[in-house]
C-alpha cells in the first residue's frame, strides 16, 4: 500500500522515474474527475431545480442610489425613480424566468421595447441593462460600469428616468436573482413624473420557470452556489497537481535523474497562474 502510494507521488523505477499523478493517464483522470463533478452539478440543477443557486442582498433603492451616484460623479443629472419603469423592468425579469432565457430579446421574439409599450411608457430614448448571479449591489454597478455599453446606458445624458426590477427565481435549474435596469426619457416632457421614492430595502420577488408566480415578498435564504462547488473541486485538483509536481521535481533533482519530460517550472508557472485566476474569478454576469 505504502509502495503504491509512493508511486503516485515519488519518481522511481516503478513509475519510469515520473510520479504517476503527473503522467498523461492521470492527467486525463483529473480532467475526467472534474467533468464528472460538473455533470453531477448540472444533473442536480435539472432533477432538483432550485436547490443550488446564488443568494443575493440586492435592493431596488440601493441600485437606484448607486446608479445616480455614478451619474453625479460624471457631472450628470441624477435620474428620477419611476414606478412604471420599475414595473416594466420587473415584467422583463419575470419573463426571463418564465421563458427560461438570459438575453435582451426573448425566444418568442419579445424585445425590451415591448415591455415599455406594455406599461404604455412613451419614450424618445430608452435603454436596458441586465445582471444575474450577483451577491451585492456594489458588484452589479461595478460590473455595468466596467462594460462600455452598460456604462453608456448609466451615463447617457438624455435619460431622465429609471426603473429597476429585482426578481428572484430559477433559471436553468439554478436559483438566482435577475436585476433589470430600465432607462427612459418620456416623449412628452410634460409627462415627466416627479421623483418617486424607490421602495426601500425591497426584498426579492420570487418567480419560478413554468410555475405560478408568487408575488409575496420573501427574504432570500443562503443557497449552495454551483460556482463555489466548482471552484472548490477545481482548487483541490489544482493543489494536488501542483504539489505532486513540486515533489516530483524535488526527487528528480535530488536523485539527479535524467528523463524525458515536460518542464516542471513551466507546468508549475502555468498551473499557478490558472489557479489564481480560478480563485479570484468573480460571481455574476451582465448582458
Amino acid at each position: 500500500m505504502k509502495r503504491k502510494l509512493s508511486l503516485l507521488f515519488i519518481p522511481q523505477a516503478g513509475n519510469n522515474y515520473k510520479a504517476l499523478l503527473t503522467q498523461p493517464s492521470f492527467l486525463g483522470l483529473f480532467i475526467a474527475l472534474y467533468l464528472l463533478n460538473q455533470s453531477l452539478v448540472k444533473s442536480f440543477t435539472i432533477f432538483k431545480p432550485g436547490v443550488l443557486g446564488y443568494s443575493s442582498k440586492i435592493t431596488v433603492s440601493k441600485i437606484v442610489k448607486l446608479t445616480n451616484l455614478e451619474r453625479v460623479k460624471h457631472h450628470l443629472q441624477p435620474l428620477n425613480y419611476n414606478a412604471d419603469l420599475s414595473l416594466s423592468a420587473t415584467n422583463k425579469a419575470k419573463d426571463m424566468f418564465k421563458e427560461n432565457y438570459w438575453a435582451h430579446n426573448s425566444p418568442s421574439g419579445k424585445t425590451p421595447w415591448d415591455f415599455f409599450k406594455e406599461i404604455d411608457y412613451q419614450y424618445s430614448v430608452a435603454g436596458e441593462n441586465l445582471a444575474k448571479d450577483f451577491y451585492d449591489n456594489e458588484s452589479v454597478i461595478k460590473a455595468w460600469m466596467k462594460s462600455p455599453t452598460h456604462r453608456e446606458n448609466i451615463l447617457h445624458p438624455k435619460y431622465l428616468e429609471i426603473g429597476i426590477g429585482v426578481v428572484d427565481g430559477t433559471l436553468n435549474g439554478v436559483k438566482t436573482t435577475l436585476v433589470v435596469q430600465h432607462f427612459g426619457r418620456p416623449l412628452d416632457l410634460a409627462n415627466l413624473q416627479e421623483n418617486q421614492l424607490a421602495p426601500t430595502d425591497s426584498p426579492l420577488i420570487p418567480v419560478s420557470a413554468g410555475q405560478p408566480q408568487v408575488l409575496s415578498q420573501q427574504q432570500s435564504k443562503q443557497l449552495i452556489s454551483p460556482l463555489q462547488i466548482s471552484k472548490t473541486v477545481g482548487a483541490v485538483l489544482f493543489m494536488v497537481l501542483i504539489s505532486v509536481m513540486f515533489i516530483d521535481g524535488y526527487f528528480t533533482i535530488k536523485n539527479k535523474t535524467k528523463r524525458l519530460s515536460g518542464s516542471v517550472t513551466g507546468h508549475i508557472s502555468f498551473l499557478a497562474i490558472i489557479f489564481m485566476l480560478l480563485l479570484f474569478s468573480q460571481q455574476g454576469s451582465i448582458f
Binding site: K231, I253, L260, T265, G266, F270, L277, G284, I286
Partner: protein
C-alpha cells in the same frame, strides 16, 4: 525543488521570461474582463494555446521534442481550459 527551478531558469532565461510575461498579460486581461465570462473564456483559450506553443518551441530548442511531451502539455492545457471555462458563469 527551488534548485531545480533555478537550474532550469538559468539554462534558458529568455524563454522563461517570455512565459512569465505571457502569463502575467493573460492575468491582466482576465481581470480586465471581470464579469464578462465570454471574453474571459477567450483569454483562457488564448493562454492555454500560447502555453502549448511555448512548450513546442522550448522543447524544440532543447532538442527533446517528443510526442509524449506534447501530449503532457496538451493535457495540462486541456485541464486548465476545462476547469476555467466550466467554472466561469
Amino acid at each position: 525543488m527551488p534548485k531545480d527551478i533555478i537550474k532550469e531558469l538559468k539554462q534558458k532565461p529568455s524563454e522563461f521570461i517570455f512565459l512569465v510575461i505571457m502569463l502575467l498579460l493573460a492575468s491582466v486581461l482576465f481581470f480586465y474582463f471581470n464579469y464578462n465570462p465570454h471574453f474571459q473564456r477567450r483569454v483562457i483559450y488564448f493562454t492555454s494555446g500560447a502555453y502549448l506553443f511555448w512548450s513546442l518551441f522550448h522543447h524544440y530548442k532543447r532538442g527533446d521534442l517528443e510526442l509524449s511531451i506534447v501530449i503532457e502539455y496538451l493535457l495540462i492545457a486541456i485541464f486548465a481550459v476545462v476547469l476555467m471555462t466550466t467554472t466561469l458563469i
